[in-house]
């Protein structure tokens, strides 16, 4: 059933066409179906055009043998028109159904992984009285070694295929990592003999020992402390026209390294009051000691852990300072950590969120209300989206439209930003190209999503303001880029 790679609705082979899924992660490649459907649609349009012109011609012909034959041709043309339309629609339906089946397969994978984790944890627990703590540690280390060997074997295989050592961009290992992350809590519960049957079929990041608790613990122990005072100031303001496409939204995402700041807020006056678009940058620094930079690794981990991060607070402060009212529609757009912040703001921010567009965010596990349309763009070779674990499943997961793409050569060989050189599939430029291809393909789910956020994409005039956020501490601190002098505000 599976051709070569992946997706939940329309899919992507060879990397030139993205695939679109009804939600979460998807494993069937249906892009060929969607492309064929698209081409059949083009043929049908051409046939319909000729049929219309033929009908006009026939009506102008005098009753004669010629007219009779032309009428026969017209009838056949109309039949061809219907046939092309039916075949195109059938392919689209098949693509969607394959995607649904793939969701079921992925849910099965998650259940198996959770069961294995719980079984491993439970076995270790049961063995402990027999072989003692030392023996249990040795057995546990053996399990870890076995996993490590499997990773090495897979990496060698992949290297032989691609000529490049890049396990961080191997879709198989990334999928396995997502399953492991989503199953850690099952392993711990298994060891405590607390695992229930329903835990195997549902993934609850907020549950006992779930990714949220683990993330909170890690951030607290290892990373820059969060929760201190922030400075969030406007840096530039200018007139703009609102974007007209999803690609234009990607184009406007700020680079957090720029002095203008990590957040961009656009205001557009409307008949019913203002509309807003908030663009949020990704992680600026992965340094453990991130200094005054709130868009750091600690915010990544806290965001996944569903704890308020400094970068999320910075976004909310910028939105408040910009004057966004609680009842004024907001479209949230983010890349990487910005995507996570966008989802968390939509989830908890108290704003009237009219949509979320996200690129490469660890957000699949978060289910937003049905009233918030969500489109996520993810690359199979991108490590970041899997860091939240496996995606939400069921109706909640299927609400999330996912544009997936497998990049040729894992995205390597294409110029990226310096920060994403080792993770080219996470580069914003790569995501921009993917969403542009998805829009060009005309997939109906992308078109429908675009329609759902249509009022934000009407090209009207407004203003754009950039906001720079940084941590404030009483004593001079190091800046996130390693300097000893704090970056001046602008």
């Amino acid at each position: 059933m599976r051709p070569s790679s992946a997706s939940g609705g329309p899919g992507a082979t060879g990397g030139s066409w993205p695939s679109v899924g009804g939600g979460g992660t998807i494993a069937v490649e249906t892009d060929a179906m969607v492309q064929a459907s698209h081409r059949l649609g083009l043929a049908q349009e051409a046939i319909a055009g000729v049929a219309g012109r033929t009908a006009a011609c026939v009506s102008a012909l005098a009753a004669s043998e010629r007219r009779n034959r032309a009428e026969a041709a017209l009838a056949l043309l109309r039949r061809a028109d219907r046939q092309a339309a039916t075949a195109a629609a059938g392919l689209r339906t098949a693509a969607i159904r394959y995607g649904t089946v793939e969701h079921a397969v992925l849910d099965g994978q998650r259940g198996i992984a959770a069961g294995l984790a719980a079984l491993t944890g439970g076995t270790l627990r049961i063995l402990m009285p027999v072989i003692g703590l030392g023996g249990t540690v040795i057995v546990a280390a053996g399990v870890v070694d076995l996993v490590a060997v499997l990773v090495v074997v897979r990496t060698v295989q992949r290297t032989a295929e691609t000529g490049r050592i890049a396990p961080q961009a191997d879709p198989v290992l990334l999928r396995a990592l997502a399953l492991v992350l989503a199953s850690l809590d099952d392993g711990v519960r298994g060891a405590l003999l607390m695992e229930r049957a329903e835990d195997l079929v549902t993934n609850d990041p907020a549950g006992p020992f779930g990714t949220e608790q683990v993330g909170t613990l890690l951030a607290g122990l290892l990373l820059h402390p969060a929760g201190g005072p922030l400075s969030v100031v406007p840096t530039t303001r200018r007139a703009v026209s609102s974007p007209r496409s999803l690609t234009a939204l990607a184009d406007r995402l700020p680079d957090g390294h720029e002095r203008a700041g990590q957040v961009r807020i656009e205001r557009y006056a409307g008949e019913d009051g203002p509309r807003w678009i908030v663009y949020i940058a990704g992680t600026v620094t992965f340094a453990r000691d991130s200094g005054d930079e709130p868009f750091d690794l600690a915010s990544d981990v806290l965001g996944v852990a569903h704890r308020t991060s400094d970068s999320e607070r910075a976004v909310l402060e910028a939105m408040r300072a910009a004057g966004i009212g609680a009842d004024e529609p907001v479209l949230l757009v983010g890349h990487s950590q910005g995507a996570l912040n966008a989802v968390r703001v939509a989830q908890d921010g108290g704003y009237l969120v009219g949509g979320v567009v996200q690129f490469g965010g660890p957000t699949g596990q978060v289910a937003l209300p049905a009233s918030v349309p969500v489109l996520a763009v993810e690359h199979d070779e991108d490590l970041v989206p899997v860091l939240g674990g496996t995606a939400a499943s069921g109706a909640e997961g299927l609400r999330r439209v996912v544009v997936r793409r497998s990049l040729p050569d894992g995205g390597f060989g294409v110029v990226t930003s310096e920060a994403t050189a080792a993770f080219p599939a996470h580069d914003l430029g790569a995501y921009r190209r993917t969403i542009a291809a998805a829009e060009a393909a005309g997939d109906e789910r992308v078109v429908a999503f675009t329609g759902s956020i249509g009022p934000f994409l009407d090209g009207r005039q407004g203003t754009s303001t950039r906001w720079r956020a940084r941590r404030v501490s009483p004593e001079p601190g190091r800046t996130a880029d390693g300097g000893s002098v704090r970056r001046p505000n602008r």
Partner: protein, 69 residues
């Protein structure tokens, strides 16, 4: 064998010739569905072949209409 092209004085025949050309130029997609060897792929290939045959019949019918009086 197709009928000869019409004389420029027969406007209807010229239009029918144009329609015939347009039908022949309809961009019928490839019947191949790369990567798929399923019932879907076979049904798709059959539909495309049938569509191509149908358009061929349409073109022939238009040519016959053009040749008719």
């Amino acid at each position: 064998m197709l009928p000869d092209l019409p004389s420029t004085s027969d406007a209807d025949a010229l239009e029918l010739a144009t329609l015939e050309r347009l039908v022949r130029e309809v961009p019928v997609p490839s019947p191949d569905l790369p990567g798929w060897q399923s019932l879907t792929a076979r049904e798709y290939a059959a539909a495309v072949h049938e569509l191509a045959d149908l358009l061929g019949t349409v073109a022939a019918a238009l040519a016959a209409a053009r040749a008719a009086a």
